[in-house]
């Protein structure tokens, strides 16, 4: 059997005395598109951020593509890695944020080129060509020279997706990618994500877009109160939710 792209075992996360994630088990196969649903405060964004160690976990473990995230195992213990080594492990994982977080002092093209040139040390000419292709893929060739402040929210988020893709990731994490957008701009971002899913990218998407989850995702995972309540194919979870908490949530958003 192939190594799963993401394997979380008994993940636990606490802030002080507040348990935000408890015994999370989740396996995502390569090529799978999974959406994390749940009310705000359910821990879905926190879990997503744990996958690339933006949040350190307090128990259990997460592996991406077979290697442990943020730790090194030896003598039956997990040793925390140095920040530089964690950074290296993140190169395979792209992340898209709710607030885009584009670099405001760089143009769209420079945003996309930054990490391949600086982190991977690739030649600028090659990266530029590839970056222009990526901007073309998200439909923004004509905005390459624009600074983020001159772009609409939807355009900024599409640049952010191109920026993440420039590192040629094997896994893409989306943290509520359309929540900060005006309603009429949501579609253009979802279109890009749909295209990515069709190309076989492994994706984990925290979202409130039920329509997108139903149509594009292979599996939906419903979280509440820091635990996974239920998961399954979109049709099953949306049409016949087993758990009362899932039913209550869906009745509000559907």
């Amino acid at each position: 059997m192939n190594t799963p792209m993401v394997e979380a075992i008994g993940v636990r996360k606490v802030y002080g005395h507040n348990v935000v994630l408890e015994s999370i088990d989740l396996t995502v196969e390569a090529g799978e598109v999974v959406s994390l649903l749940g009310p705000s405060g359910s821990g879905k964004s926190t879990f997503l951020r744990c996958i690339n160690h933006l949040e350190p976990i307090d128990g259990g473990e997460i592996s991406v593509n077979g290697s442990l995230v943020g730790y090194r195992r030896a003598h039956g213990k997990k040793y925390e890695l140095h920040r530089k080594d964690i950074a290296k492990a993140r190169r395979d994982v792209g992340m898209v944020f709710q607030r885009f977080n584009l670099f405001p002092h760089k143009t769209a093209l420079e945003n996309v080129m930054e990490a391949p040139v600086i982190v991977q040390g690739r030649a600028k000419g090659d990266v530029r060509a590839e970056a222009m292709e990526l901007l073309d893929r998200v439909g923004l060739t004509d905005r390459a020279g624009h600074y983020p402040s001159m772009l609409s929210g939807g355009q900024q988020q599409r640049v952010a997706i191109a920026r993440a893709l420039a590192m040629r990731p094997r896994l893409m994490l989306f943290d509520e990618p359309t929540s900060a957008l005006d309603p009429e701009l949501v579609g253009e971002v979802l279109d890009v994500m749909r295209g990515l899913a069709q190309d076989g990218m492994t994706m984990i998407v925290v979202t409130h877009e039920i329509g997108f989850a139903r149509e594009v995702c292979d599996r939906v995972v419903f979280m509440d109160g820091g635990v996974i309540v239920e998961q399954g194919a979109p049709a099953d979870v949306f049409n016949n939710p087993e758990h009362a908490r899932t039913q209550a949530f869906l009745s509000k958003v559907l």
Binding site: L102, P104, H105, V119, Y147, S149, M150
Partner: protein, 296 residues
């Protein structure tokens, strides 16, 4: 009887509100400006001939150079140490945070004049400076009087004091960058150093440069305090000359003209820097041409 309507509301002229007091203010200012000009031009005691003669006199020029040297070196010490203190202040290590905090507390909390004199008289309490293992053997030692020359005392006094202010400026600059920026850099696989250099500092510098330019202008003038150490900076030179010829005001005018000229240049540099730093900040900026666009 009916009044014949000659104009419609559409083409009725509008009479703007008049502001007579503005003209009164202008008249008052013009009047007093004229009085000032007459005082400056007709008062022979100002000795403009002396001012002109001393403006480019060798010792005055040497004083200008000393003032510039003090400003530049003190600002470099202040900016370097200040950045270090700011990074310490933002550290996760509480001992580093406290050390930085106590430094700023002390150097901001005592007058710079007191600090300058303190460094100058350091030898009276610490006659020897030695390099070695604390509480252990020392490898080399020097007489404090040889090390702490008046120039050294001036740099220590001005620079270490400035570091306290720069620490606050740099800290505010770094703190003013959206934490999402560091996260985005991290998520792209950048090391902490890469993220600082490429993403955080360029954005922080936009917040750091304007107040730093202000500090430089302040330093230019504040460096005149070194006259208490007997240094012949611009102000010290003016003092030395008027103590011989008793032409205090003409020589203070010479110094003021130089200070104003240097401040004007620094203000211009500050303006240019701020404009360059605002890259990407203003929405009205035109897009930068990409190679593709340029080929068209």
């Amino acid at each position: 009887m009916t009044v014949e309507l000659t104009t419609t509301p559409a083409d009725e002229p509008i009479v703007r509100l008049r502001h007579p007091w503005r003209w009164v203010a202008v008249a008052v200012i013009v009047l007093y400006a004229a009085v000032l000009v007459r005082f400056l031009v007709t008062n022979d005691a100002l000795r403009w001939d002396l001012v002109r003669g001393y403006l480019f006199e060798t010792s005055v020029l040497r004083g200008v150079v000393t003032t510039l040297k003090l400003t530049v070196v003190a600002m470099l010490v202040g900016a370097g140490l200040g950045t270090l203190l700011a990074i310490m202040r933002l550290s996760e290590n509480p001992v580093l945070r406290w050390t930085s905090g106590i430094y700023v507390w002390f150097f901001r909390g005592t007058p710079i004049l007191v600090q300058l004199l303190g460094w100058y008289f350091l030898a009276s309490v610490l006659p020897e400076i030695s390099l070695g293992i604390p509480f252990g053997p020392s490898f080399a030692s020097w007489s404090t009087n040889d090390v702490v020359t008046p120039f050294m005392a001036a740099i220590l006094g001005l620079g270490l004091n400035e570091a306290a202010y720069m620490a606050e400026i740099v800290r505010a600059g770094i703190g003013g960058v959206d934490p999402g920026q560091a996260e985005a850099a991290e998520a792209l696989g950048m090391s902490p150093a890469q993220s600082y250099r490429r993403i955080i500092l360029p954005q922080a510098s936009r917040l750091i440069i304007p107040p730093t330019a202000n500090e430089t202008i302040t330093m230019l003038k504040q460096s005149s305090l070194v006259v208490v150490l007997g240094m012949l900076d611009l102000t010290g030179t003016a003092q030395a000359i008027y103590s011989r010829n008793f032409q205090q005001i003409p020589l203070l005018l010479v110094a003021s003209i130089w200070y104003l000229a240097l401040t004007t240049i620094l203000t211009y540099v500050q303006m240019r820097l701020e404009r360059r730093m605002s890259r990407g900040a203003a929405t009205s900026r035109r897009p930068r041409r990409t190679r593709k666009g340029a080929q068209r």
